[in-house]
Amino acid sequence: MAKRIVKELTDCTQAPPTGMKIHLLDEQDIHQWEVVMDGPDGSAYAGGHFKLRVTLPEDYPFKPPVLNFTTKIYHPNVSNDGKGSMCLGMLRSDEWKPPNKIAAVLAMARNLLLEPNTEDAIETTIADQYKSDRKAFEATAKEWTKKYASGK
């Protein structure tokens, strides 16, 4: 499937999705991508630069890519366990379809920064806070953005 992956990589580097920079983590390995995602304006993450790892499984695109935030982020849909995994929507193997593209996955992730999905949260306490006390949620999210996602 090298042809497919190279095609996607070329598209992504030539015309990167909004607010993202994409490159291979190691030039020799097309299965490991690194993405720097700008926190979208109007979200609690604005001004932050979030690093993500996209790992393509051996049988990509028959299995979905794996997405991890390597920059710590306060978000209902990102696991707060040091792994920073995001696993919803098309990232799930029962929803993923082989023609889906990494660019679309990244766009979905960026959209989630604007609008968290509290129905399908991995961090349920953060989701509850998002629903019940938006102010407190935004304060923490901003604080973390400043602390972990600024600079570099």
Partner: protein, 522 residues
């Protein structure tokens, strides 16, 4: 007590056309155990195998059931498809998909299909025309959106929805779904956002033989999972399914023990090992309680006890409750720790918990201690039979080994030791029953039926301990005990039948009162 209360479902014979509203796979809301008096049709072509019922007279605690092989299940699916496809005017592939999307409730499907055809097709992923005219072909200038290959000679495939991919990608997609994700009946078109279900004809066309075998296996699985009257035998590696008409709502009145062809006995209601005479809900409550109280229970069920006379530690090494202290030769009963000489003929004190005097009960602390003691009384006996069953089996295995040796030295023939196996089997079965009688008794509220129950329990327990004791005799004496042992074995079996028949009859007729509420089944 009629034997036709529980009947076989799954009567999928050809003469029962689809105009019979009560026929086979409808398995809907219509059935009450009391009013379904149909007879199982023995001429049924699909499921003629393993007919275990109807030959001998059914006991009150027995239920009708049938055991099906994977081939039987395959055939039953096929027949239903054949019957329904004509009504729907659909291909067998599309009919199968439609039936699966209605959990094989064909009456519901037919009704819905007649009323709102388009919606039903759409919901099953069959959109517009449901016949699959799909074939493999080459398309000039085609580029596969999955692998990005655009070789001109490339073979491609698409279903009616038109989402076309190269054959290799399509195949790999299906194989991944089947072999790695275990999907079969709900695999969707690989096209982005397309929810059309891949029909079995397309799968036949594309996947390799081993993936196809797995596909059929998975389809069979969903078929059994979809039908309320079918359950997989829970024994590890067993491929059989059991068909039983007992519904969840019947479970407070019936304990449906079924026997798989692999020899495993399990409860059709909850799929746990046979737990007659206790109904599923009591079993669930009891197991939960034992788990919650496991610390005390562990302490109690410990395999050692102190001799009541000299306090030296005694380990139980056989299933029998008749203990003799190695140090002081004191003979006592393992269960109640009472002197054995008082037992022998009157087992009496050992199966029944005597309620304490009212004076003691008034004291709150004594009361909680008493309720714990009451629990431990029953738990102790429950755990004892579980433990003893294992020990009985160990002894039997050891004995059998010794007997085999003896055969060569003493010239005893193999047939002469068969009675040991029969005895061992009876012990296992009776102890399993006895074990659950104690969980049953724990929840049983006293009324005029309970005394008969306790007598039955006592009689069975006495018979079992008698037989169990014989196993501990030196091997060279066993041959001489053959007749006696055979008598005791059949006596045990008889007592078990009496106990189970009585409890089942009373359960069915609602004569038992329990000190807990029966949850309404799921």
């Amino acid at each position: 007590m009629e034997s036709d209360d529980e009947i076989n479902s799954f009567h999928t014979s050809d003469d029962e056309g689809m105009d019979d509203p009560d026929s086979d796979l409808s398995n809907g809301e219509d059935s009450d155990v009391e009013d379904e008096l149909e007879e199982y049709d023995g001429d049924d072509v699909g499921f003629e195998s393993q007919e275990k019922i109807g030959k001998q007279q059914k006991k009150p605690y027995e239920v009708d059931f049938k055991v099906y092989s994977p081939e039987d299940i395959q055939r039953a699916q096929q027949r239903t498809v054949d019957e329904v496809k004509g009504v729907l005017q659909q291909s067998p592939e599309a009919t199968a998909i439609l039936l699966r999307s209605f959990r094989w409730n064909r009456d519901k499907l037919i009704d819905a299909y007649m009323e709102r055809r388009e919606a039903v097709l759409e919901q099953a992923g069959l959109g517009d025309e449901a016949s699959s005219g799909a074939k493999i072909m080459t398309v000039p200038g085609f580029c596969c959106e999955i692998c990005w290959d655009d070789s001109p000679e490339m073979q491609t495939f698409a279903m009616k929805c038109g989402h076309r991919f190269c054959v290799d990608c399509y195949k790999r997609y299906l194989t991944t779904k089947i072999k790695e994700e275990g999907e079969a009946s709900r695999i969707r078109c690989p096209g982005d956002d397309c929810s059309r279900v891949v029909d079995s004809k397309s799968i036949d066309l594309l996947v390799s033989e081993d993936a196809h075998d797995r596909y059929l296996e998975l389809l069979t699985r969903t078929y059994v999972d979809d039908l309320e009257n079918l359950k997989w035998c829970p024994a590890p590696n067993c491929v059989y399914a059991v068909d039983c008409k007992i519904k969840p709502r019947d479970l407070p009145r019936i304990v449906p023990t079924v026997h798989c062809d692999c020899s495993h006995e399990f409860c059709f209601g909850c799929t746990l090992n046979d737990h007659q005479p206790a109904p599923c809900m009591l079993v669930r409550k009891w197991l939960k309680k034992c788990e919650d109280d496991s610390e005390t229970a562990n302490w109690i069920s410990a395999n050692t006890k102190e001799c009541p006379r000299c306090h030296s530690t005694i380990e139980k090494n056989g299933g029998c409750n008749h203990m003799t202290c190695r140090k002081c030769r004191h003979e006592f009963c393992w269960m109640c720790m009472g002197v054995w000489s008082e037992h022998g003929t009157s087992w009496y004190n050992c199966n029944r918990y005597e309620e304490r005097s009212g004076a003691e009960a008034r004291d709150a602390q004594a009361k909680s201690r008493q309720s714990l003691e009451r629990y431990l009384h029953y738990y102790n006996r429950y755990a004892n039979h579980e433990q003893s069953a294992k020990l009985d089996k160990d002894i039997y295995i050891k004995t059998e080994k010794k007997m085999t040796q003896l055969q060569t030295t003493a010239g005893m023939s193999w047939i002469e030791v068969q009675f040991l196996e029969a005895a061992s089997q009876a012990l296992q079965q009776c102890r399993q029953t006895l074990k659950w009688t104690y969980a049953f008794a724990f929840y049983l509220a006293r009324n005029n039926q309970t005394e008969i129950f306790e007598d039955n329990q006592k009689d069975l327990e006495f018979a079992v301990e008698n037989l169990s004791e014989m196993f501990e005799k030196p091997v060279d004496q066993l041959a001489g005990l053959k007749v006696d042992m055979m008598d005791k074995t059949s006596y045990c079996n008889r007592r078990r039948i009496i106990l189970l028949s009585d409890t089942a009859e009373n359960l069915k007729n609602g004569n038992w009162e329990f000190n807990v509420d029966f949850d309404t089944p799921r």
